[in-house]
């Protein structure tokens, strides 16, 4: 049944394109008021994963750089959050967040400067190597509690004088702060995508040699993207440390870098909705496979269906969940007849 065509002003038409995003935002904003404590925590974890995935999207989807060591910046920021926090009073957000992000950015700049000297598969491997190095620094040395991890004694808060504006120790505040960060990161990446910087990155992704041949110096752009991606991963790392109150070297393990890549591909590389959707799908899959209510005693072998699901998803949906509606539309299109 065809809907009657209504004349929509172009401006409103452009805005209406965003309705799925707006709807999602509304759902996420209202969720804590309708969901139980555990599910709110779960959505919070998912949003943090979404921010992490978005930061990697800038590299993989935006610049064509597949980094297998992105967890390093997530972890460095998380550890910095704990290490820079005082052991007694609640640390001030204003004094904590900027240095944490700066540390993550500097680490990304240094590591990126070295890694970007390689290409292709070697780039993937060298990012893995640096991530493993960071992992071993935290795991083997006595810098930060070794393999047992470190605790955050008090959660940060933002206060002016005696008035507390934001206390991240309160679950609701943390939830909305995370949602806010997610929106900001999303918007930031959207803006970058439209700006000259983003266009340059897209050019590098599609054909770097051509860019260089036309006199464009690609290295600084790649490095800038890498640094920014590291800083944004730092936002996710910071939120993770505050949420759990506990950091541990496993957050830097190559499994984590793999998991976030998986989230990206599940959702769909090349879009911003993809990483966010991918985060929800990934967390959902894990929850379902681990639930005894669905699988009974077999739930202890949850890694088997998860592994099969990963293989199936990557094989059958290489463009991610985001691309599904387009595929359905193509399936439903009438097949043109000749004559």
């Amino acid at each position: 049944m065809k809907l009657p065509r209504i004349a929509i002003p172009p401006a409103i038409g452009r805005l209406l394109k965003f309705w799925p995003l707006a709807a999602a935002l509304v759902v996420l904003a209202l969720f804590p008021h309708i969901g139980g404590g555990f599910y709110v925590d779960l959505v919070l974890t998912t949003m943090i994963l979404a921010i992490f995935a978005l930061s990697l999207e800038l590299l993989v989807g935006g610049t064509g750089l597949v980094s297998f060591g992105h967890a390093a910046f997530f972890g460095i920021a998380a550890y910095a959050t704990v290490l820079l926090s005082a052991k007694t009073d609640a640390p001030s957000l204003a004094w904590l967040l900027p240095p944490v992000l700066a540390i993550a950015a500097i680490a990304a700049c240094v590591i990126g400067a070295l890694c970007l000297r390689t290409r292709g598969i070697y780039f993937i491997m060298v990012t893995l190597a640096f991530a493993q190095m960071t992992y071993f620094v935290f795991h083997d040395t006595s810098l930060a509690g070794g393999s047992d991890g470190l605790y955050l004694y008090a959660k940060p808060r933002l206060a002016i004088g005696d008035v507390t504006l934001l206390d991240l120790g309160r679950p609701m505040t943390l939830y909305y702060a995370t949602l806010g960060c997610l929106v900001v990161v999303y918007a930031l990446l959207a803006l970058i995508g439209r700006a000259r910087f983003g266009q340059a990155l897209a050019g590098i992704k599609s054909n770097e040699q051509r860019m260089r041949a036309s006199g464009f110096s690609t290295y600084p752009y790649k490095l800038a993207a890498f640094t920014l991606a590291g800083a944004l991963a730092g936002v996710a790392g910071f939120l993770h440390a505050v949420k759990d109150g506990f950091v541990n070297p496993e957050i830097l393990a190559w499994h984590q870098s793999g998991a976030v890549l998986l989230t990206l591909i599940l959702g769909g590389i090349g879009t911003l909705r993809g990483p966010v959707l991918g985060a929800f799908v990934f967390v959902l899959l894990k929850e379902v496979f681990q639930s005894e209510a669905v699988f009974g005693a077999f739930a202890r072998h949850w890694q088997l269906p998860l592994g099969l699901a990963i293989i199936a998803c990557v094989a059958l949906m290489p463009n991610g969940v985001v691309a599904l509606p387009a595929r359905f539309r193509r399936l439903r299109m009438p097949i043109p007849h000749a004559g």
């Binding site: 598969i121 070697y122 491997m125 060298v126 620094v137 083997d140 040395t141 890694q303 592994g307 990557v314």
Partner: protein, 293 residues
Amino acid sequence: MDLAVFLVQCLNAIQYGLLLFLVASGLTLIFGILGIINLAHGSFYMIGAYLAYALAPWAAANVGGGFFVALGIGIVLSIAFGYVLEWAFVSYLYEREHLQQVLMTYGLILVLEELRSILAGDDVHGVAPPAWLAGTVPLGGVMTYAVYRLFMSGVCMAVALALYLVITRTRVGMAIRAGASNREMVQALGIDIRLLYRIVFAGGVALAVFAGMIAAPASSVYPGMGNQVLILSFVVVVIGGIGSVRGALTASLLVGFVDTFGKVFMPQIAGLLVYVLMAAILLWRPEGLFRTA
């Protein structure tokens, strides 16, 4: 550290490096010839160890040649398994991007680990080496060295030699080297590249499984044993140069030395040293020590 202890440590380093070589050689061939990143390679090593455990009672019952027959059965089974796996799963990976290969083989790791858990349980097991290899030899009064470890090193060297001979002196080896350089040309010459890929993959799997089988009596058989080996094998492959068996040998020995002496002199950063080595080499020679083609 006096000379005797130093020499023993060198022996340790070489033995460790050679075992790593056995696993990494399969990985570098698969990587270099097929162009596939196979994260599940460590799982094949684990399968080899569990296979050794499963066949052990049978091997013990048939004295004398029991151990070698078990090894032989393991090799045959692994070639068959590799063949089937390539046909059923790996062949879908050829046209795909590296990222997709990484993730699909990551899914494969989870599947293989859980299958192992379902079939063989989660207990830790030991495998006894054959009686005639179970002794020890004194090493200059410092300590004794297990004969089995010397045997392992010997076997690894023999395999390295065999690989070298196969790749440089046989027709199959020639086709493999040609396929690594120029896939299309090889097909144009009428060589069935798909069959070649299947052979190489099955060979790579067999090498990893074989490594697991002979390592089992020296280490123990436990869940998750593939993970440590996997990441180190990748380091070795990348340092040595993707596709180069000679590179894999050099790199494994290098890693063996760095790791062994690192543990003794700087235990806190020993784990990190191997990766520092990898990063340093990649920054100096971005494509590894011995590039193929």
